[in-house]
C-alpha cells in the first residue's frame, strides 16, 4: 500500500474517485450455505416440520459429518427476519506447502510436490450486512489468502528463530542478535500472515463486488490451530471465548464505533473533509438541538478518555460521527461495526459520504499456547456472532456449555463452535 493511497482513494480530487470506464459485469456471487451444512437437509425452508410454531429452526451439520477437532456448528437463519442468512462460516484443514527460496511457484512444482509441509486447522465465522455477498466471498476466499500468506513466510516459521533474511543468509553477523533483541518469534509471523490475509481478502472482495455490481460487508472471526498454538483473529463484533472447568477466558475483543471511538474521531480530525460538513466528530450524551445552543454540555473529542463541558455552537448540532449507545451505536448513522471486510462502496444514505475510510480490515490477533495451557478434552472454544452475545453473557454461555458436557462426551455435536445469526 503506497503512502498516498489513502488520499487518492478517499479525498476530493483523488485519482480513484472518478468512476472508471464501464466494464462488462461479472455474474453475481451465488447464495450458499457453509459447505459442511450441505447434505444435512437444511435448505432455506423449515428444517423440522414438527417444531413448535414459535421455535426457530436450528441448522447443524448432518450427524456423522465430523468437523475438525470435533467442532460443532449451529445457526438460525437471520432470526427468521428474512429467507437468506447473511452469516457464513467455513472450516477445514490448512495445508501449507514449503516454497524453496528462489524457486518460482509454478503448476509443475505443485503437481510434482503435492505434499504439505505444515498442517493446521481453520474455523471462520462471517457476519454479513447489506446483503450476503461479502460474507460468501470471505468464506470462499480468506482461507486461501491465509494459506498463501503463511506459505510466503513458512521458512521463517519453522526456524528456531525467524531469520532476519528469509533466505537464511546472514548479511550482518549480528543479525540473529537484532532479531532476538526485538523479541521476534515464529508466532509473530503467523500474526503478520493473518493481518495480511485479512487485508488481501478485503481487496479481493472489493474487486469482486465491484465487478458483479453487488454491495455489502461482513465481520470476520477466525481461529487457526497451528504448531501447538491457537490463533484467534477478529475484525468486527463477533466474539470467541475459551470455556474451561474453572475459567472463562475471552479470546477476542469487539470492534465497534463505541470501542474504536478515538481512532475514528482522530481520522475525522485529521481529514475533516471525510465528513463533508454534514457530521460533527464530537461525542455528546445525546444529539444536540437548538435549545442547547449556548449551553455548556458534556462532550468528548478524539484525544479525550474523560469528559469535559463545551459551549454549544451551531456546528455541534450536526449529526454525530458516532451516534447511539451499545447495540444501537452507529458509525455515520449507518454501520454498527468498525472493522470487517467489504463495504467498499458503502455510502451514507443520499450522500457521497463514504464509510470505508473509517473501517479497518486488519484483525486483532490473540495467541493461546495450547500445549502450555494443558488444554483438556472438556475445554471448549465458543465462537459466535453478536446474535448470541447480545442475549447471553460469557458466563451464561460457559454454564450452558459445562452443563451438557459431562454426559455427552461421545456426541461430537456437543463440542466446539457455534454461530448464532442475528
Amino acid at each position: 500500500m503506497s503512502a498516498g493511497w489513502f488520499r487518492r482513494r478517499f479525498l476530493p480530487g483523488g485519482l480513484l474517485s472518478a468512476p472508471g470506464p464501464s466494464r462488462p459485469r461479472a455474474s453475481p456471487v451465488p447464495y450458499r450455505r457453509p459447505r459442511f451444512l450441505r447434505g444435512s437437509g437444511s435448505g432455506p425452508g423449515p428444517a423440522d416440520a414438527s417444531r413448535r410454531p414459535d421455535a426457530r429452526p436450528v441448522r447443524s451439520p448432518a450427524r456423522g459429518r465430523a468437523l475438525p477437532w470435533n467442532a460443532g456448528y449451529a445457526e438460525i437463519i437471520n432470526a427468521e427476519k428474512s429467507e437468506f442468512n447473511e452469516d457464513q462460516a467455513s472450516c477445514g484443514k490448512l495445508c501449507i506447502r514449503r516454497c524453496e527460496f528462489g524457486a518460482e511457484e509454478d503448476q509443475e512444482w505443485l503437481t510434482l510436490c503435492p505434499e504439505e509441509f505444515l498442517t493446521g486447522h481453520y474455523w471462520a465465522l462471517f457476519d454479513g450486512h447489506g446483503g450476503p455477498a461479502a460474507a460468501i466471498l470471505a468464506a470462499n476466499t480468506l482461507h486461501s489468502c491465509l494459506r498463501r500468506q503463511l506459505e510466503a513466510v513458512v521458512e521463517g516459521m519453522v526456524a528456531a528463530q525467524p531469520p532476519m533474511h528469509l533466505s537464511g543468509h546472514c548479511i550482518c553477523p549480528s543479525d540473529p542478535q537484532f532479531v532476538e533483541e526485538k523479541g521476534i518469534r515464529a508466532e509473530d509471523l503467523v500474526i503478520g500472515a493473518l493481518e495480511s490475509a485479512f487485508q488481501e481478502c478485503d481487496e479481493v472482495i472489493g474487486r469482486e463486488l465491484e465487478a458483479s455490481g453487488q454491495v455489502g460487508g461482513c465481520t470476520a472471526l477466525v481461529a487457526v490451530s497451528l504448531q501447538g498454538k491457537l490463533y484467534v483473529a477478529n475484525a468486527g463484533d463477533s466474539r470467541a471465548i475459551l470455556v474451561r472447568r474453572d475459567e472463562v477466558r475471552p479470546l477476542s475483543s469487539e470492534f465497534t464505533p463505541e470501542t474504536e471511538r478515538q481512532r475514528i474521531q482522530q481520522l475525522a480530525f485529521v481529514y475533516p473533509e471525510l465528513l463533508a460538513g454534514e457530521f460533527t466528530r464530537l461525542e455528546f450524551p445525546r444529539r444536540l438541538k437548538g435549545d442547547d445552543l449556548g449551553q455548556k454540555v458534556l462532550f468528548r473529542d478524539h484525544h479525550m478518555s474523560g469528559w469535559g463541558y463545551k459551549c454549544v455552537e451551531k456546528s455541534d448540532l450536526k449529526y454525530p460521527l458516532i451516534h447511539g449507545q451499545g447495540r444501537q451505536a452507529r458509525l455515520l448513522g449507518t454501520l454498527a461495526v468498525s472493522r470487517g471486510l467489504g463495504d467498499h462502496q458503502l455510502r451514507v444514505l443520499d450522500t457521497d459520504i463514504q464509510l470505508k475510510p473509517f473501517l479497518l480490515s486488519v484483525p486483532q490477533v490473540t495467541v493461546l499456547d495450547v500445549d502450555q495451557l494443558e488444554l483438556q478434552e472438556e475445554d471448549v472454544v465458543v465462537m459466535a456472532t453478536d446474535g448470541l452475545w447480545d442475549v447471553l453473557s460469557n458466563e451464561q454461555v460457559a454454564r450452558l456449555v459445562r452443563s451438557f458436557l459431562p454426559g455427552n462426551r461421545e456426541d461430537p455435536h456437543s463440542h466446539g463452535q457455534g454461530s448464532s445469526g442475528h
Copy 2:
C-alpha cells in the same frame, strides 16, 4: 483546536510555518530547584562534604519540612553528568474554588470569596531534555492549568451524576438517562480536566519558550488526590507504582517511540511529507544497508502487530522513523519519548523535519479508589523518572520500600515519592 490546525501548523504551505514578525524577546526562564528543596542546603554543589568520593549527593527536603501526605522526595543531579538538573518537581495543596454558573471570574470575587470549595493534593515530576526550561515552566504552570480546568467543571464533579448541562438545567427530560447510559461519572470530569490541563500547559510552554528564545521539552507524571480517589496522569517514560504489603500495582504505563510505534507510523503513513523523504516509516530489526537490497527481510508497518517479510527496495535504506531498541529507541533519531510537554521547535539535526507532530501532550490517566482499596499507612506510591526504572524493577523498588518501612514509621523521609535524575 480547529480541525485544520494540524495541517496549518505542520504541513508545507501551512499558514503558521512562516516565521512571524520579530518581537522583543522575553527574559529566559531562570534555573531553579523544586520549591520544597529550598532551605535544605542543597545547592548545585556537593550536599555533604563528608561523602565518599564515588557517592552521588542525594538531595531531600530539610527535616521538619513535611510534604503533603508525608511524602518524601530525593534527587540526584543528572547523575552528576552536569551541574544543572533537567528534572523538576512540584507538590502542594490543590484549592478549587466554586464558580457560580454565569458569574464572571474576576479579581474582586477572588478577594471577597477566598475560601476554597474543594481541596486535593498534587504531586508532579517533570523529566527535562534539551535544557531545563520546559521542565521549570511545567513545574511552575501545570498545577494552575489543572486548578483552572477543575474549577470549570467542579459543579459537575460534586453532583450525584455529572449533569448533561453544566447549569444543571434540564433541556430534555431524559438528559439524566442519556448521561447514565454513557456511564459518565464525576471521575470522568477529573480525567478530562487532567487531559485538558496537560494540553493547556503545553501551549503555555510553547509560547513562553518562543518568547524567551529557549528550547527543550519534558515528560510529566502527576498524581492528584481528590474526593477519595488518586488520579495518576502520565505523559512520557516516568512511572508510578503502588507498593502494598502483598501487591505491587503499576499506576501508569510508559510512552516511548517503541510503545507508541503504531500511532507514530500511522501518522507518517497519513502525512508522508512529515518525513521529507529522509526517513522510512517501516520498522526493520536493524538499519538496512546496500547488501540487503533485493533480499526478503523482516519488517512491520503501521497496521501490523506481527511481523512479515518484504523485498528490500532502495527507499527502505533510509533512516528509520523509529530506530533502536529499549532505552536506545529514538524517534527520528532524536527523542527517546513520544509524549510530553514542550519541544515545539525541536527539529532533526541539520534539517527542517519537526518532531512535534509526532508527540502527544495528552496523558493517560489511571484512577485508584483510595477508600474502596482500604489503603493503609504502610502503602506507598512511588513516582520516579526513568533514571530509577532503568536500574531497578518494580519488584526491587517494592522490596526496598518494604525493607525500611516497619522500623521507620515515624520518619516522614521514608515515605512517599522519589525522583531519580537520569
